[in-house]
Structure formats: structure tokens, C-alpha cells
Symmetry: C2
Subunit: 278 residues, 2 copies
């Protein structure tokens, strides 16, 4: 009798441990906390600046963006449209958009993932996780950001230019859509502050609650400093002679964050929160 | 009579100017000199290190390389094979491999460029321009380089890992195959030194003629310094506190150049020269 009771307890403990293990693996290993989210945003600054430095290696190469320069069979659009749409399709099959941190620029007609299921974190609220402002990012990137950074000219490297645009667009988009995680962890920290504003659809109130001017100032200064560090000419001989000769203008990187990256991240945060109670 | 003679001279001058303009555009605007080639190699160090820093953001993610983890219809190979082959096909259609600086990893069955002709420089000797050692680079990259740099672990970001591998592989491959331009400008500077060795198929003699130990030492030191600069944590508060905490180990970057990048570049140079008189 005592033996059977002991066995039952053991079985119960084993099953509980297994359930916990499964639950853990079901949400992935990655934990999202306010501090981990902030750390990720800081790390993503480096990625954006590296990719920006790589894009400005090429001049504007405007044929990359002409609607009629390239003619691909059964495809209407520019070379950059062709490269981005087709590369996204390959990446989709390879499972890229299974990750809640990735958002395609052309979600229409994207092929499904052909990869086995991976237990990515399910921290985001399902309705709100669908926020995707890549159409705005795309427009702003080509109309406003790019002309600010690249030199005029044409060196014929259109495919490389488009690939480089895609990497930079993906880095910027990932940073901006990380606003979903920012919003989620902030919401979880103080739901009582957010819920009334969400119910009242008070966009302005939400924006206010999410805005910390001093943090934004710090981010803008930090990316400017990073552009100086990563964009300098490193040589063995001189160490400080070459200061001031940067691959991208540091003040423009600060402006990039001020005018687009920070405001669009907050737009994602607000959009996310508005759907957080759906 | 004088008028007609004057018109003829004017016409002759106009035609000559046009021929010169066409000849210039036929060889592209890019000039390859010993100094421009060196400058390009130095600039490419930054690209390699940026891409290395981006790859090590992810752990090894070994499923990316398993032959049987992913199963793509009508495709045999690993996820990285799938991503690289298909991305190269898109880039080929977009004209990437029209540039003499670009070399595909999977040249077999690559679709032709769909882009209008662009007059890239034709400085390379046509027979020798075909040198492509990407099969060796591919093997060395996955068998030896990657395990040196990345942490163990699995975060599920296999598509991003494969895309990141492709960018890094392309940067390394471009640097190594730039050996063709190095060899060509060196050959043009002193053909009399090279021709007898080429005719004698004297690989060792060519290698000796191409090797400058002091320059190689300088390159290894410079990339180590670059890894320190680009891989540091940049923050506004501390400035030197964090030294020693780099995203990639700078001594490993020096080793990467010592063991693989420099020797493989010289291999390309020798291969190129051996075909230079064909």
C-alpha cells in the first residue's frame, strides 16, 4: 500500500517535471524583460550602423530603383523590388518569419515556412503581434533616408546595392518592430496605467506614457558616437589624425534615429497597445 | 572650300571625342592601380569584420547545416545550401556576377543576368579571370572558421543564420578573389619578373615574388585593431572601462587572416598568374 502510494507520488512528480519542461520549451529559451529588450535595442544600433556603412560604399545607383530599367519575365517592378520580394520568399521558406522578431516587407503571397516547428517565445499578444508598418518604412527609406546618406553616381553594382538595401531595411525594420516587445513588457509591468487609455483609444495619452525624452536624447547621442567609432578609418600608424573623416556622417545617424527610427518605433508601440486587449 | 575643310576637321574632332568617350565607358569608370587595389583591400577588412560581428550574434545553430533537418521539395541539401543557392540565383538574374569582383559559390546552373549590359572594367585577363576557389573557401569556412568564432547553442534563427553566413562568405570570397586584381596590377608593373616564372610553371617562385612578410604582419595587426574598435561596446558613460570585452576575439580575427584569408588570396594570385599568358 505504502509502496503503491510512493509510486503514485513519484509518477506525479515525474509528470509535473515533464509538463514544466514542455511548457518552458514551448515558449523558447529567450526571455523578454525590460532589461533584455533594452539590451537588444542597443545591440541593434550596431547592426543598423554597420549596414549603413556598407550601403554607402555604393553610390545611389538609381537604376536599382527605376521601374523600367530591368525587365524580369512575369515580374513588374524595379530591381530592388525583384531582389527583395524573391529573397524574402526564400527566407520565408527557410522559416525566417516564424520568429516574432521578423516582419516581411511583402507579406502578400509569401510562401509558407518549410521548416519543422520551433518553439519561439509566445510573449506577444496574438492580435497585436500582427502589427506591420513596413510599408511606411519602405517609403521613408527610399524617399527620405537613402538620399540623405548616399553619394550620387553609378558604379553598375545594382544587385549588390539592392542586397545591401535589403540588409539595412531588415535591420531598421527589426529595430522598429521591436517596439512590440517594448510595449508588451511595459504593459505587463503596469497594466493599470495602460488599460484605460487603450479602452479610450487615447493614442495621444499612450504616446505620452511611452515617451521618455531623456532616454531618447541618450539614444541619439549614443548612435552618433557609435557612427564615429564604427565609421572611422582604423590604421596602425596614426591614431587620432584621421578623426572627422567618417564613412557616414555621425550627425545624420543621430537624425535618422530622431526623425524616423524612434518615432516609428513608438508608432509600433501604440499600434500594438491599441490591439493589446482584443 | 575653307569652310568645308573647317567642317571636316570639326567633324573629325567630334567623332574622335566620341570614340574616346565610348572607349572610356567600355572599360568602366573604375581604375585598378596598385594603390586603388590596396585601398579596396583595406576597406574590405571592415566589411569582413562587420559581417563576422553580425554572424556571432547567433550561436552555431547547427540545424542550419544538417543535411536532413529541412526538407525542401525537389532540393537536396542543408538549409544553408538552399538559402545560398537560391539567393545566388536571384542575384545572378539581377546581374551581380557581371562584375569581375564577384564570384558565385555555386556557379553550376546559375541563371543568366537579365540586366542590360554594363561596361565593367575589363582589366583582368579573360582566361585568368575565371579562377574561382569558392569551393575551398566554403569548406574551410564551415569546417574551420565558423567553429572558431561562434558559441554553441540553438536559438531557432536558422534562416537569419544562413543569410548571415552568406553575407560573411561573400565578403571573404570577394577579398580573396581580389587577388586577381592584385596579381594583374603587379604583373603589369613588372611583366619581365613574372613571365619566366609563369612559363616555367614555377608556383613556388611566383609565391615568393608575391610575398611580403612585413606587409602581411601589418595587415594582421590592423585587422586585430579593427576588431577591437568595431567590436567594442560603445556607451556614453564609460569610455575605457569596457575595453577587453569584444564581440569577436581580436586575436582570432588576426588568425583568420593569417591562416586563411592571406594564404587563399595568394593562392588566387598564383592561379591567376599561371593562366595570365594563356
Amino acid at each position: 500500500m505504502v509502496f503503491r502510494f510512493g509510486m503514485s507520488v513519484l509518477l506525479f512528480v515525474m509528470i509535473s517535471v515533464e509538463i514544466c519542461r514542455m511548457a518552458k520549451s514551448e515558449t523558447g529559451n529567450h526571455e523578454y524583460t525590460l532589461s533584455s529588450v533594452r539590451e537588444a535595442l542597443v545591440r541593434q544600433e550596431d547592426t543598423i550602423i554597420f549596414n549603413l556603412i556598407e550601403r554607402v560604399k555604393f553610390p545611389i545607383n538609381s537604376r536599382t530603383y527605376h521601374q523600367n530599367y530591368a525587365s524580369f519575365p512575369a515580374f513588374h517592378g524595379s530591381l530592388v523590388d525583384f531582389v527583395v520580394k524573391n529573397t524574402e520568399a526564400i527566407q520565408a521558406k527557410a522559416g525566417r518569419y516564424q520568429s516574432p522578431e521578423e516582419n516581411p516587407f511583402f507579406p502578400e503571397n509569401l510562401p509558407p515556412s518549410l521548416m519543422p516547428h520551433y518553439p519561439f517565445s509566445k510573449i506577444l499578444h496574438p492580435e497585436a503581434a500582427l502589427v506591420n508598418i513596413n510599408k511606411s518604412i519602405w517609403k521613408v527609406y527610399f524617399d527620405e533616408m537613402l538620399p540623405l546618406f548616399v553619394a550620387s553616381g553609378d558604379d553598375g553594382n545594382y544587385a549588390q546595392t539592392a542586397a545591401s538595401d535589403l540588409s539595412l531595411l531588415q535591420a531598421i525594420s527589426r529595430r522598429i518592430h521591436y517596439g512590440k516587445f517594448v510595449a508588451e513588457v511595459k504593459f505587463r509591468e503596469s497594466p493599470h496605467d495602460y488599460e484605460p487609455l487603450i479602452r479610450a483609444r487615447d493614442t495621444e495619452g499612450l504616446m505620452k506614457l511611452l515617451t521618455f525624452a531623456s532616454v531618447e536624447e541618450m539614444v541619439k547621442k549614443r548612435v552618433e558616437k557609435k557612427a564615429m567609432v564604427f565609421g572611422q578609418e582604423v590604421s596602425l600608424e596614426r591614431d587620432d589624425d584621421d578623426k572627422g573623416n567618417y564613412k557616414v556622417d555621425p550627425s545624420l545617424v543621430s537624425r535618422l534615429y530622431d526623425k524616423w527610427v524612434i518615432p516609428l518605433t513608438k508608432e509600433v508601440e501604440v499600434e500594438y497597445l491599441l490591439r493589446r486587449l482584443d
